[in-house]
Symmetry: C2
Subunit: 194 residues, 2 copies
DNA sequence: TCTGTATTTAGATATACTTCTAATTAGATT
DNA sequence: AATCTAATTAGAAGTATATCTAAATACAGA
């Protein structure tokens, strides 16, 4: 099946996010049951049980044997454990957002606070300011040393207050300074350092 | 918290059984975001994100830092992994059905096919027949040897066709026979022997 | 103190889900 | 074949959930 990780997890959780379906799994973990038996134990009608079993069957969480007219269901514990183990593998979490366009927010902020290449206002919000700083930092090349005068000139093309912006770029970790020389650094969110 | 295992799992799955909440977890697994940023990335309004974050907060799946007006959320991966590990521990599955009255089905079947101590009809369904056989088997004591004549006498008190019932009790594993003597055995569902 | 920004809360609407009854299917028993 | 039994499917009704708009809250900056 060519199902995204998101769809896989969403189906899994939707199936299990129901009280009676969880109870059915609990019951079937200790015995095999017919539909009528499950209906009696859970105090609902047979069609309701059939409906729930269809959900569980769609994930192969239950196995079925037919004896006479009885449909005997039992838990497929192997499948359940496999899903439980695989499903939240740490490294797969980012795939839940694989179709998210991460540039959308940056584009929104930039279109609000830029007019062409010029910064028209400095946003007060932290996140929005960071977007502007990152955009400004991209005006500098990696692996190149800049004199303070050059930095001022470049910033001036985007905003008159080059002094404040120059200081902020360094303080916030977008650029580094040593002995009067500046260079661009790979930005790491210092707030995720735990 | 004095929450049943069922309630714990049900809450967990209900929170995660939503496309946008899963996407939020995916996004927050790689960066921290403000509410407005999440709203932009997922193309919904801020109140909707707030609503989803409330669900995630109820499980401590997200951590919050407040910087200025921004509420910066990030994933609490530790809690997520812990839940994922604990939640489907094999030995806990039966607790999902701990409040189920397992005698309900037996009582229903017995009330249909018994009149006091007498079996009035033999159900055609497999499961119902098993209920009747089990009930009949309970008329015999464990750790006691019965001669065939005694078995016949006891069964006769409940149904005239003692020969068929005697044979069925042995064939289905409720009783054992050797050298003309019978004794009751602990019944194991042969269908779960894998 | 007043204005602006980001978030949250409240309430309304639209959609999705659970459960039921009624009808249908499939198979066993007479 | 005809009848009975158990399960499933179809369709309807009630309930719960997601999302929105509007209003309220909390806080920052001027």
């Amino acid at each position: 099946m060519d199902e995204t990780h998101l769809e896989t997890l969403l189906n899994f959780f939707k199936v299990l996010a129901n009280e009676n379906r969880l109870k059915i799994l609990g019951i079937l973990s200790t015995r095999e049951c017919s539909v009528e038996e499950l209906a009696t134990l859970l105090s609902v009608k047979e069609p309701t049980i059939s409906h729930h079993l269809n959900h569980l069957k769609s994930l192969n969480l239950v196995d079925l044997s037919i004896i006479g007219n009885d449909h005997l269901y039992r838990l497929n514990a192997v499948v359940l454990q496999a899903m439980n183990k695989e499903i939240f593998a740490q490294e797969k979490l980012p795939f839940l957002a694989e179709d998210v366009d991460y540039t959308a927010y940056e584009r929104k902020v930039l279109s609000t606070f830029l007019d062409g290449e010029r910064i028209t206002a400095i946003p007060s919000g932290y996140k929005k300011r960071m977007v502007i700083y990152r955009w400004l930092a991209e005006k500098f090349e990696f692996d190149k040393q800049y004199q303070e005068q050059e930095v001022n000139t470049i910033i001036s093309e985007h905003h008159p207050d080059y002094a404040s912006f120059r200081r902020d770029l360094v303080d916030l970790g977008f650029m580094a300074r040593e002995r009067g020389m500046y260079w661009r650094t790979e930005w790491q969110n210092p707030r995720l350092d735990n």
